[in-house]
């Protein structure tokens, strides 16, 4: 069984490295893409890495294919107190560049408002989103900031279908991350019976460790490429696993040995969640954090859909990890043992499986997966100390929907919930998207309490 554990760790690590390497090439491909496009296509100006910050942008007419630039539109930039700090008019390429006064350091953390003068727009043209006339831009990084103002209807004119497709893609990206977190929660429940309310903190832990590595002075380079964040992801994956192992060793195992009931353990996990969350806030503060790399990347335009290389890499990594875990659970000895314990701990124990070892592996693997999903969530949307707590209910929803304790159910449930959340914003306000998912959870429990893939047994 020892080899099984090592094999799992080795395989997961290999997957992480492979996909992150892939993301590196994707990054390079994305940078090359714009130059390949036909001239007077509508492209963003090059981002320059100098000591000043500029706001770069473009105004494109998306009613035509390929998109055409809109020339002669007046743009102004105002600072927080409403003073105009820069003005420009779009060029023949539809672009504008407004350098902000002062050096990079002066502008960090400030918010600027970019305003489009609608009167200077050509006849019949209007911004696709009418609220877009002013847009707030926050300077968080020492890079130039790019903004783009699409004009007219979405290309192709198939409004809702295109929108739906775009949301579907976003939903799939989010689902893979949700699935990683849900898998850990479900496996831990399956093997120990613990409904772990502190699972959200395992997610946040991953994001925080990666941030700590990222913040270490100096950049880690391999062959001239800055791989700091890649290294951070790997380190946090490993440390999250260690954290999970220690969680079990120091707290949950002794409690199991004492014969503490599941409800008592659930309440203990709530205490742990409050404890850890406030420690995280103590260490990391209340503000939102972003990693030093991959924060602002240009999206690819694949047909009508916008997709950033970062999201693609994240989704691919997520899918690869999920497939790897599935294969491990399906074919390795320890995987089979895990499923046996999840099915019936007493029976598994009597057939010679070392249940405590399986539980230790599950805690390590589950926490590592949760940590990885935390880093990747942080990469896609930034994070704060509440990252995991905020999505904990969605993870629960995914797990319950698929069937508490089932492994395939957790993944299926995560994909249904993740995609539902994004696509439902077509029909309900996006602020209520979590509500929609939670309503689905309750409805499913009404109709099929054991979840989609759960065994039809008495659950009450």
């Amino acid at each position: 069984m020892q080899t099984g554990i090592r094999r799992i760790a080795g395989l997961l690590l290999a997957v992480v490295v492979a996909v992150l390497a892939l993301s590196g090439t994707a990054q390079a491909a994305a940078a090359a893409a714009p130059t390949a496009a036909d001239a007077p296509a509508c492209v963003l100006p090059e981002i320059t890495d100098d000591d000043t910050i500029s706001i770069l942008g473009r105004i494109c007419d998306t009613r035509e294919t390929p998109q055409t630039p809109v020339e002669g539109v007046d743009i102004t930039v105002e600072d927080e107190s409403g003073n105009v700090v820069g003005e420009a008019t779009t060029t023949a390429e539809g672009t504008f560049e407004i350098p902000l006064p002062g050096t990079t350091v002066d502008n960090l953390g400030k918010t600027f408002t970019v305003k489009v003068d609608e009167k200077s727009m050509p006849e019949g043209a209007a911004l696709r989103n009418p609220d877009d006339v002013t847009r707030d831009v926050q300077i968080n990084l020492d890079n130039d900031v790019s903004v783009s103002f699409p004009v007219g209807e979405a290309a192709g004119g198939e409004g809702i279908a295109t929108q739906g497709l775009q949301l579907l893609v976003g939903g799939i990206v989010f689902s893979t991350l949700l699935a990683m977190a849900a898998l850990g929660l479900s496996m831990i429940f399956g093997t120990t019976g613990l409904t772990n309310f502190a699972h959200g903190e395992l997610i946040t832990f991953g994001a925080l460790v990666a941030y700590a590595v990222d913040q270490l002075p100096g950049a880690i380079r391999i062959g001239g490429t800055d791989v700091t964040v890649v290294v951070a992801v790997i380190v946090s994956f490993i440390l999250s696993g260690v954290f999970g192992y220690l969680n079990d060793k120091a707290l949950w195992k002794p409690l199991r040995m004492r014969g503490t009931g599941v409800i008592a353990m659930m309440i203990v996990s709530i205490g742990l969640s409050i404890f850890l969350r406030n420690i995280f806030q103590y260490v990391a503060g209340g503000q939102n954090h972003n990693y030093s790399q991959y924060a602002a990347v240009q999206p690819w335009e694949i047909g009508p859909i916008l997709l950033t290389p970062k999201d693609t890499a994240v989704a691919l990594l997520g899918v690869a990890v999920l497939i790897a875990v599935s294969l491990l659970l399906q074919y390795t000895r320890i995987g089979k043992a895990t499923r046996a314990v999840a099915d019936n701990p007493a029976l598994a124990s009597s057939s010679g499986i070392n249940v405590e070892r399986v539980i230790a592996v599950v805690w390590t693997g589950g926490a590592a997966l949760a940590g990885l999903s935390g880093v990747l969530l942080g990469l896609t949307q930034g994070f704060d100390y509440q990252l995991g707590f905020k999505i904990l209910l969605l993870v629960f929803a995914a797990v319950v929907l698929g069937g508490l304790g089932t492994i395939w159910g957790a993944m299926l449930g995560a994909f249904i919930i993740g995609i539902f959340i994004e696509v439902s914003t077509l029909f309900i306000p996006s602020e209520l998207k979590f509500v929609g998912a939670l309503v689905v959870l309750i409805v499913v429990l009404l109709i099929r309490p054991q979840g989609l893939l759960g065994k039809a047994q008495r659950v009450g």
Partner: protein
């Protein structure tokens, strides 16, 4: 370090309006969890329903305050029915997840921009407590001079609140010594045994959920009245967890457990807050280790730790009976 100030302010909080709120919420949880064994993690939802019903009836629709109170209580009953139908037949952990989800649904819905005109979005509602405050017999500052004092409005909320607490405790005491209460306790101990005696367990659980939910709605009223405002952040998921801590400190399945728990919880919480804030401000703890922002987090770190240790080493709390909570003290 001004110890007298710290004790005075901690005492002010320990008996103050916040303690009343958590006490009422915990009395509700005591009926659910302590007596019936129902793991309701959505008490914040019942509080939100009560508080928002009262506030919006007065502020949005301009109807009388007392009507708001009645509507709030009725809606809490409706919520209990809605939650109970799908979940009371399920295992305890399912009930926990569904109730926590329901509370979050309520909170995010009342805070949404779509319903801004009714519930005021994230800013919430104000201006509903005038008729309540106009009944205030107090003026100036109330309390024991030199030891502890409250503002007149707080004192009025406290008076009403603690009277409510006494009434609720009396109700719980009378209910739990009746045959009905004994059925509840036996459901907690062994549901199947009760069922085999011909009792309708589902119906008893539903009644318990409704009664505890109504106590939760009372806590929601006091939440809204104590600050004369209401917004979604008053009903975050953590509120339910704090109420559980209050219940477990005092001792579940004890009529006066929540009362003792609320007073101790709030006294200690504000004591820790004041202690660390002053320690950070006076340089007793160096700035490099703890800033004033971090000092305000210490109380929650201790609280989380306390909840864990309490559940592990003394699940019956201070006044509870270990045998009574047999479901967890195995």
């Amino acid at each position: 370090m001004d110890w007298q100030n710290i004790f005075s302010l901690a005492l002010q909080q320990g008996l103050g309006p916040s303690a009343v709120v958590y006490c009422l919420a915990a009395i509700g949880l005591n009926v659910h969890f302590g007596y019936t064994g129902l793991l309701n993690f959505g008490q914040a939802g019942f509080m939100a329903i009560g508080g928002y019903a009262m506030a919006s009836v007065v502020s949005t629709w301009g109807l009388p305050f007392w009507l708001g109170v009645v509507v709030g209580l009725l809606l809490a009953v409706v919520l209990a029915l809605l939650l109970g139908v799908p979940t009371l037949r399920l295992r305890a952990d399912y009930l926990a997840i569904v109730t926590i989800a329901a509370a979050e649904i309520i909170r995010q819905t009342v805070g949404s921009v779509s319903l801004l005109e009714y519930f005021g979005g994230q800013d919430g509602l104000t201006g509903f407590s005038d008729s309540f405050r106009s009944l205030n017999p107090f003026s100036g500052s109330i309390g024991i001079p030199g030891v502890v004092s409250w503002r007149a409005n707080d004192a009025w909320v406290m008076l009403v609140g603690w009277i409510l607490v006494v009434i609720c405790c009396l109700i719980v005491w009378l209910l739990m010594r009746s045959p009905w209460g004994r059925v509840l306790k036996s459901i907690r101990e062994d549901e199947d045994a009760v069922r085999s005696l011909g009792k309708n367990v589902y119906s008893y659980k539903m009644q318990s959920l409704i009664i505890g939910g109504v106590f939760g709605a009372l806590a929601g009223f006091i939440t809204a009245l104590k600050s004369a405002a209401i917004n979604p952040s008053f009903f975050a998921t953590d509120i339910t967890f704090f109420a559980y801590t209050v219940l477990l400190v005092g001792g579940a399945a004890r009529v006066l457990g929540p009362v003792a728990g609320a007073i101790i919880f709030w006294f200690l919480l504000s004591f820790l807050d004041l202690f660390f804030t002053q320690a950070a401000a006076t340089g007793l703890i160096p700035e490099s280790i703890m800033t004033s922002n971090q000092a305000s987090l210490m109380r929650f770190i201790f609280m989380g730790l306390a909840l864990m240790l309490l559940m592990i080493f003394r699940p019956q709390g201070i006044f509870g009976d270990r045998k009574e909570l047999a479901l967890d003290a195995r």
